[in-house]
Symmetry: C2
Subunit: 455 residues, 2 copies
């Protein structure tokens, strides 16, 4: 889905990958639209002074920003940041848009690329200096409506994982020391990779009034009082695709859930010189019928490649179902369907093929989901001591739930030893911790922390 490019740290999203991304985008767009969010587009470059106002919000907020200093031959009077995220420019815009409580809630989503100048090694879709994402931004009249909307986004992200990416999702909050800079609460969707590490899948933030104060998003309420808005933001990037690749892929290449596969069925005809005509005709009829039924289907009728070559190629690309058509199928009025994840073969009746394909696509989805869910279920463990946390993660990977006092130093002890961290704490802030004491220091626990290694 990606290629390395002529710019170090940047990748090319190829058409296959772009189509997967478009499916993810389509799903989120629909969900956002039905819950009041329209798309818009904001400037890619942000003047340093506007950008740095965020410094007033949180000390030491010093993101890795790529700076534009020259336009043409001239040095700019003020350098410009390529957006690493757009709270500054969008909240500033909201400040000019919002006058009255009637203007609220005001919500925008944009699909764009952002740049974060990280020096680490490039890993397609997981660590790239430029990445594609959506960033949603909202302004609300009060904390309650802002928090509600943030929870709604968290739910939509969890649904994306569960219903579209075939990945079970855990939802929680980031510990305070790992929140988005300036946020009151950062929520997260976490999912487990086969190597035992967690992936942070998407993050909605409740930002409180800090950004709105800094960028002057104020409004006149029903009682003619001036009030400051509460803002939110929420983002999901092409890491979602990185998660899919790692979670479902195997030694033969990609494995894509039918929900996002650019092609759901690849028809591979198997012919001899004698039966080529009828095999191709049968295949083409099949293709036309599936396409009419709304299936994304391709007939691979290339002359210069063998069926075996084609099998490999479609497996590599992750197409969930292969449909084989040879003289046997033509004679019997059947089609052989082969599941990508495990090679399971099902011979189905040609006459009822559209229903059969829909069923088998669902079956492939379930297969992928179940495998990932089993992995997740088996890999959430509990631990009562520092050594147990270290040992459990060291042996099994996965998540370890443990009581936590809230002190970043206790996480540091784990992090220093095995590079695992608290990826989230329990979603409900009022829930009783899993144990009464912090597993690391033994002080009173305030939260249930989930320790894991991460990507």
């Amino acid at each position: 889905m990606a290629d390395y490019s002529g710019t170090a740290g940047f990748i090319v999203l190829n058409p296959w990958g772009q189509t997967v991304w478009d499916q993810i985008r389509g799903y989120l767009d629909d969900r956002f639209a039905e819950t009041g969010v329209g798309n818009a587009y904001f400037p890619m470059l942000i003047p340093e002074s506007l950008f740095e106002q965020e410094k007033n919000i949180i000390e030491g907020f010093d993101p890795e920003v790529a700076w534009v200093t020259h336009g043409g031959e001239e040095e700019l009077a003020e350098r410009l940041a390529i957006r690493p995220t757009s709270e500054s420019i969008i909240t500033d815009h909201m400040g000019r848009k919002v006058r009255s409580y009637r203007d609220l809630p005001l919500r925008y989503n944009q699909w764009c690329s952002v740049v974060r100048w990280e020096a680490t090694e490039t890993k397609p879709f997981l660590r790239t200096r430029e990445f594609l994402w959506q960033e949603g931004h909202g302004a609300f009249p009060d904390e309650e409506t802002a928090r509600e909307d943030t929870h709604l986004r968290l739910e939509q992200y969890a649904d994306l994982y569960e219903d579209v990416l075939a990945l079970p999702a855990m939802t929680g909050r980031k510990p305070d020391h790992d929140k988005f800079p300036g946020a009151e609460t950062t929520f997260t969707v976490e999912t487990l990779m086969p190597d035992g590490r967690s992936i942070q899948g998407a993050t909605p933030h409740y930002l409180g009034t800090k950004f709105a104060e800094e960028y002057d998003v104020t409004f006149t309420d029903e009682n003619e009082q001036q009030r400051v808005a509460h803002t939110t933001s929420w983002g999901a990037s092409w890491r979602t695709m990185g998660a899919v690749i790692m979670a479902h892929g195997d030694d033969q290449g990609l494995v894509l859930p039918p929900t996002i596969a650019p092609e759901q069925v690849a028809i591979v005809p198997i012919w001899t010189d004698e039966d080529k005509g009828e095999v191709l005709e049968y295949s083409e009829d099949l293709r036309a019928e599936l396409e009419a039924a709304g299936v994304r289907v391709e007939l691979d009728d290339r002359d210069h490649h063998s069926p075996g070559f084609k099998f490999n190629e479609w497996e590599l690309k992750g197409v969930p179902l292969r449909a084989e058509v040879g003289s046997n199928e033509v004679a019997d009025g059947t089609v052989r369907l082969v599941h990508r994840p495990d090679g399971e073969k099902v011979d189905v009746d040609r006459a009822a093929v559209a229903e059969a394909v829909a069923e088998e696509l669902d079956a492939v989805y379930e297969k992928l989901y179940e495998r990932a869910a089993e992995r997740m279920d088996e890999n959430v463990r509990e631990a009562d001591s520092r050594n147990e946390i270290l040992g459990t993660i060291g042996r099994h990977g996965g998540y370890v739930r443990a009581g936590w006092c809230g002190d970043v130093d206790c996480e540091a002890e784990i992090k220093d030893q095995i590079a695992a961290e608290i990826v989230m704490v329990e979603l409900d802030p009022d829930a009783d911790p899993v144990s009464e004491t912090c597993a690391v220091c033994g002080d009173s626990a305030t939260e249930t922390a989930y320790y894991a290694k991460t990507h």
Copy 2:
């Protein structure tokens, strides 16, 4: 559709504008897809050395580029250009992808933003330092197939104007001195604005082998010979939206063709305290039926605004049809439809409203198209002398067709006097010029030039 932003020279595309852009994007995506082009995404930043290889292609190619010189706190070893266009990074990529004639044609399209550091005044959608566009790039085995594809893109752009934007399109070639740097031939779609100026609507380029040579796009042909590919590129930007705004808009605001309007019908109920219930029920039924028929429709049932206020607001936004529903309509079983461009009113039968709305939307499209086509027809004139060119454009605006010797100095004489230029020459390079001599210098004419002022 746009707002000014916190970054000088950059605009915000608001949700209404974004939805119009998405319609344009959807149309082009479908056309590109059915003619072999998939979408992809390439790095936004291009190393100077890679970017500057283009200097070998054409002397003095010195675009207004925004340069990234710092990543985080560090100065970069090599500065990076924000793409002003992506021939360099994409042709370089093609060079690594193409091995055999079987890999050709290779075509990519990307939707992205580009930055061109122009110092002129900002004009939304026409002159902005960052703009949204699509850029297509193709590699072909020979000149013939490359040129054919370029003509296909030209046709698709002309169709976009004719069939989607309600604007008649003239197609031609750019004069040599105004080609895309490095191109063999630059084609253009031109359309006329009410102020008598031409807008360059979209441009496909046949690039010959220069880019392929520079970035090493070579392949082994059927006879095992190494050959250099021929490349093309083609681009359309949000100028398309600028053209729509200027061409169709009026003193009441935007006028959008139904093809691209985010909402095609705005239902404005007109109620009194007594009949509010039944008027709203009737309106909601109407909305549901139109939506089911695939019409983009909104019911404006806001309590705190008067019908007159709503009329104005929907006019301002350019919605092509307003549907009025009051107690008369409820009693008579009708709906009053009002055309945005001219206020024409049509009372239609509620029972057959879906068909009627479809017809009236077509009628609005025709109205917009006809008005623009008439303007275009009336404003292509001929001239035989320098003074006649100057006088005709000075008096009427529009286009002047005239014989041209091909010398840029002859254009310069016109440009210096009234800032009109040759926006295109006749599409067919073998067509006889409109006159035997150049209208400016009197030498032998080789082309028919179209002089016009431009946006």
